[in-house]
């Protein structure tokens, strides 16, 4: 198929429709508004339903309902709007329902601004809602990868009966890139025998619930979830490693920042500094072992994490590196985008330049 030019937000919505998503419930917020705008125009054309809810809280609960009936459903928002959805997300996780949630992050905290940011890493990977639950977190770095991962997110959600978060930022939502449409790898997806979609007098009622009044029952549910999270950690970790095979410095960055870090790597090479770029694609589960292996290489003097935040993923990097090499951080908070030059300067101070 020939390449086409897509804006990130539009590609996300089109990818969902290609994946069979028939329902979108959301509330407008910049810089992700093209997602609901695209759905509002295109879902009716495929027999689906778009609703602009009265609030983010209403929208995520509509997602809860549609997911409970076995439908492929999605919502999207940007940082403060995603905060409002956290209660619904923990309910969906506890009730073991598949749903896709896209966050085009913007500057925070609070209402912040409409500029790109990566400061919702904690919220996405630690869960902004209550209780012991996990969401799979996918972090695309290109529009192509966003289109691929959003399609696959629906399969992952269905396979594990778990919410999947696609964590990108306003830059990925707003920028344009050439992409081609391709199908995700085939998965054997289980029948949704649990869905509350009508008994037709042929079976008992299916009940969708996140209330476990008896602590013993709730403990059993927690153990069940824990086993699922272990399986996801075993099967779904993804990352990309590029650059020098015997690096002095390992850069760790995801999404938009990984693009800037890659530009920095090109400049570092010109300065005679050998660098590799470790790019987590799944933020949860985090590619701990692979990063540990890269940091363990004898040539590596330091690991440098770069984020559009004041330092969040760096915690996972420290857990992965586990003290075998120094972990340094460079980040910009509040919606400022780091430049390749700033990253190069940081690396030079860490490993020394020539």
């Amino acid at each position: 198929m020939a390449k086409e030019l897509w804006k990130g937000n539009e590609a996300v919505a089109q990818a969902a429709i290609r994946a069979g998503c028939k329902y979108f419930f959301g509330y407008p917020i910049t810089p992700q508004n093209e997602i609901p705008e695209y759905f509002s125009k295109h879902l009716p054309l495929v027999g689906g339903c778009f609703i602009q809810a009265e609030s983010e809280i209403a929208a995520i609960n509509m997602v809860y309902g549609a997911a409970g009936s076995g439908a492929r459903v999605m919502t999207s928002s940007s940082s403060p709007g995603i905060s409002l959805k956290q209660e619904g997300i923990t309910y969906i996780a506890c009730a073991e329902l598949p749903a896709v949630i896209v966050n085009m992050m913007r500057g925070g905290p609070g209402l912040g601004n409409i500029a790109p940011s990566q400061a919702d890493y904690f919220q996405a990977t630690r869960g902004g809602g209550n209780g012991d639950y996990r969401t799979v977190v996918l972090a695309p770095a290109t529009i192509q990868e966003a289109a691929d991962l959003v399609q696959e997110a629906f399969d992952i959600a269905d396979y594990y009966r778990n919410p999947v978060v696609v964590l990108a930022d306003g830059m990925i939502g707003q920028m344009m890139e050439a992409i081609e449409w391709r199908d995700p790898k085939k998965r054997e997806l289980p029948q949704k025998t649990w869905a509350a979609n009508g008994t037709f007098d042929k079976r008992e009622h299916n009940i969708i619930n996140s209330l476990f009044i008896d602590a013993g029952d709730c403990t059993v549910q927690n153990k069940k979830l824990e086993e699922k999270y272990r399986a996801i950690t075993q099967n779904e970790i993804r990352y990309d490693l590029s650059g020098d095979e015997e690096p002095e410095v390992v850069l760790v960055a995801y999404g938009t920042t990984s693009r800037i870090a890659r530009a920095a790597c090109i400049q570092l090479k010109e300065k005679g500094i050998k660098a590799s770029l470790f790019r987590p694609i799944t933020l949860w589960p985090f590619p701990e072992k692979a990063l540990h292996d890269e940091a363990q290489k004898p040539s590596v003097k330091a690991v440098v994490t770069v984020e559009m935040s004041m330092g969040q993923m760096v915690d996972d990097v420290k857990i992965a590196v586990n003290g075998i090499k120094p972990v340094e951080f460079f980040g910009t908070g509040g919606g400022t985008i780091p430049t390749p030059q700033q990253i190069v300067q940081k690396i030079v101070t860490v490993v020394g330049g020539k």
Partner: protein, 224 residues
């Protein structure tokens, strides 16, 4: 002459508007470029205000900073309707973005102007002759103006090939023959000058709206 630049989201209106303004400046004219895009949060003329001023343009942008959720149209825009001003208006995408022009309907009526519509046939929403014509109609309806010229800006950013430009030129000619709106320019990035030199009405473009990681390479590396 006042020129307003419209088109579908992401067709390259801003990039063309900047290059068009600079081409007029190169003719020795004092040129004003105004950011009338109130529907797009990023990749707008306002982000390049300083660069464009350094290149000799007068730049009118919404007050209140670069990235604001609800940009406003400053009163200064009315100065573009004064006599003998060479003005370029970079308008927001789609009929939604073009609606701001209707606010100046009476001013346009008394001012010599042109309304150029930028086409990019690599954008799926306007990827066929029929869809492009639908968009032109919608833009005319919401702007209360008539499109006076077409700009073939069929591109894939850093992946643009000469084939893209030629395919876009063919389709734009079809749009022109059906609508009667003349095709004014076929654009090409400067790096494709050699291959593109035989294309009629060629308009060479330098890239200003690079992504943060492309600045260094000026769009020449699409694989970062």
């Amino acid at each position: 002459m006042l020129t307003a630049i419209t088109g579908h989201y992401g067709c390259g209106k801003t990039e063309f508007a900047i290059n068009y303004a600079l081409s007029k400046r190169a003719e020795g004219l004092p040129v004003t470029i105004a950011d009338l895009d109130i529907v797009n949060p990023y990749f707008c003329t306002r982000e390049r205000k300083q660069t464009l001023e350094e290149l000799g343009l007068r730049v009118i942008v919404s007050l209140g900073g670069m990235q604001i959720d609800i940009p406003a149209l400053p009163a200064e825009i009315l100065t573009m309707f004064e006599d003998n001003v060479c003005g370029i208006m970079d308008v927001g995408g789609d009929s939604v973005g073009a609606r701001v022009l209707a606010r100046y309907e009476k001013d346009f009526a008394r001012t010599p102007h042109e309304l150029l519509c930028v086409l990019n046939f690599n954008r799926p929403e306007v990827g066929t002759v029929e869809r492009a014509i639908d968009y032109i109609g919608a833009i005319e309806q919401s702007s209360h103006l008539i499109v006076t010229g077409l700009v073939n800006n069929t591109h894939l950013l850093g992946d643009t090939s000469i084939e893209d430009i030629m395919r876009g030129a063919d389709l734009s000619k079809k749009v022109a023959s059906i609508t009667g709106i003349p095709l004014r320019y076929n654009t090409a990035p400067r790096r494709l000058l050699k291959q593109a030199q035989n294309i009629g009405d060629l308009f060479l473009m330098d890239i200003f709206m690079n992504k943060p990681w492309e600045e260094e390479f000026n769009g020449s590396k699409s694989d970062i």
